[in-house]
């Protein structure tokens, strides 16, 4: 019996879909059988990030309405044989599915897959309720910004109310240079405020934009810093103990010079 993990954030645009796509792909490369479920009905995107948009025939609404069987709607990834996508419908809205149907669906998927990753829509309405309904665990994605952390806190509260097992935090789009200047909250600041366990930190990285353009998750790019961070997070999900990657920026010429002449860089 597999595990259902929902990837959620409250706020939009912080990287839920990117995180789902990359963690799913990384778990598949580790040899697990994984299915990604897009619950953002009406605003689907996981298919595009995975580069599978032109293979969609049936979607999650067709499955819960009994138009097709689960197997017919699952799209096999073009790179990894053990990775599948269950796409959202684009021409319907969140109310096309209810929490009870979602629970049943997750129960079915769990039988066949090691990991069921659910990409949650932004917001706290029906779409969110559906996404968490069948989940065993939750990953909260937050960026080091006031609005994102505030929304993450609200989501943690809602998950507690839904009696979800302690959610884990992924800090996304961290910019070590800004942290160093004191212009961005650092890892400790965010953990202190949110008071939940840290699952990983993903640095801001141009390769995410490039990989999304191409429809190939960044974890497949060996040179991508963000990809490396996601690979580490995937290993932590499987229970492995992986240290946080080193995000300190290499010192530039001026900082080296200052050190040489004995000026301390505060």
């Amino acid at each position: 019996m597999g595990e259902v993990i929902v990837v959620t954030s409250g706020k939009g645009g912080v990287g839920k879909t990117t995180t789902t796509a990359n963690l799913g792909t990384a778990l598949a490369t580790l040899g697990y059988k994984v299915v990604l479920v897009d619950t953002d009905i009406g605003l689907r995107n996981l298919d595009v990030v995975m580069g599978l948009e032109n293979r969609i025939v049936y979607d999650i609404v067709d499955v819960v309405e009994g138009v097709c069987k689960i197997k017919q709607a699952l799209i096999k990834d073009k790179r990894y044989g053990s990775l599948y996508l269950l796409p959202a419908a684009q021409t319907k809205d969140k109310t096309a599915i209810n929490s009870e149907q979602m629970k049943q669906l997750c129960g079915e998927l769990k039988k066949d897959f090691d990991y069921v990753l659910i990409d949650c829509p932004a917001g706290i309405e029906q779409g969110f309720k559906n996404a968490i309904a069948g989940a065993d665990k939750a990953i909260i994605v937050a960026t080091p910004e006031v609005s994102s952390v505030r929304d993450a806190d609200r989501i943690i509260g809602l998950l507690e109310a839904a009696e979800m097992d302690s959610p884990k935090l992924v800090i996304n789009r961290l910019r070590p240079d800004m942290v160093k200047r004191g212009d961005m909250m650092d890892i400790d600041d965010m953990i202190e405020i949110l008071a939940i366990d840290l699952l990983g930190v993903v640095p801001e990285d141009e390769t995410i934009v490039i990989s999304t353009n191409r429809g190939e998750p960044a974890v497949t790019d060996k040179n991508s810093k963000a990809g490396e961070a996601y690979r580490n997070i995937a290993r932590r999900i499987t229970g492995e103990n992986v240290p946080l990657m080193n995000l300190t920026i290499e010192n530039g010429f001026f900082q080296k010079l200052k050190k040489l002449i004995g000026l301390r860089d505060s």
């Binding site: 009406g42 605003l43 689907r44 580069g51 948009e53 032109n54 293979r55 969609i56 025939v57 073009k78 684009q90 021409t91 319907k92």
Partner: protein, 235 residues
């Protein structure tokens, strides 16, 4: 004419209920209910033609409309007109006339099916949409569909006949949705997410990224969907 989104007129055939494109669907639904309720006894048992030409209506919304009009107020919908967005009033009047005539000739109360399909392609009706279809919008029409605009990724066009796009096509198209293998899909710039003709589903190959620089047409040949320049197209 006061434009509150809902117009009810009497015609030879029965009531003509016209819904406009401007207002949100729930508002339209409420206005319609108000209008019908006001003169309930007068309308009950009547036959009506529902004209949705002015707006795009989702299948679920159509169900809600049918429920309101037929189940709740006992008005029988004998036909649904969906002719795309015709903004000039004169044009719409002309279209209404044509349809009423057509309907009388067929003479049956088969709603939503104005013309029989497949056996005689000449008789397929055509829906003209004068706008760009965006992600999440979906057109499902029993007949041919002509779009004077683009079809963006995430939009779907399903037709039992042909699909003609006078613009760029980037969404999902399903021509010959009822099994007509002679149906075609053509566009000024054909860059589909997915093409379906009859029961065949195809997608562009992964490696190909080039934009076509001429109008193209997709059709079934020897059991496969092929795309060729529409300049040397012959059916």
């Amino acid at each position: 004419m006061r434009n509150d989104g809902v117009t009810i007129k009497g015609t030879k055939e029965g009531l003509l209920i016209i819904l406009d494109g401007e207002l949100d669907f729930p508002v339209i639904l409420r206005k319609l209910e108000e209008k019908i309720t006001r003169v309930e006894n007068f309308f009950a048992g009547a036959q009506a033609i529902l004209d949705l030409s002015g707006r795009l209506v989702q299948p679920e919304q159509l169900e809600q409309l049918e429920h309101l009009i037929s189940s709740q107020h006992g008005i029988e919908i004998i036909r649904i007109i969906n002719q795309g967005c015709l903004d000039e009033k004169g044009e719409r009047e002309a279209m209404e006339g044509a349809i009423v005539e057509d309907g009388l000739r067929n003479g049956n109360g088969n709603r939503n099916r104005r013309v029989t399909l497949n056996e005689n392609e000449e008789q397929l009706s055509t829906l003209i949409i004068k706008r760009t279809l965006r992600s999440g919008q979906r057109v499902n029409y029993d007949g041919n569909v002509v779009i004077l605009g683009d079809v963006n990724p995430g939009a779907e066009v399903i037709a039992s006949g042909d699909i003609v796009v006078m613009g760029a096509f980037r969404g999902v198209a399903h021509a010959g949705a009822k099994g007509n293998e002679k149906a075609i899909i053509t566009a000024f710039s054909l860059q589909p997410t997915q093409l379906r003709i009859a029961n065949i589903i195809t997608r562009p190959p992964d490696e190909e990224n080039s934009e076509p620089n001429q109008p193209e047409v997709a059709k079934i040949k020897d059991g496969m969907v092929i795309i060729e320049s529409s300049l040397n197209f012959s059916n």
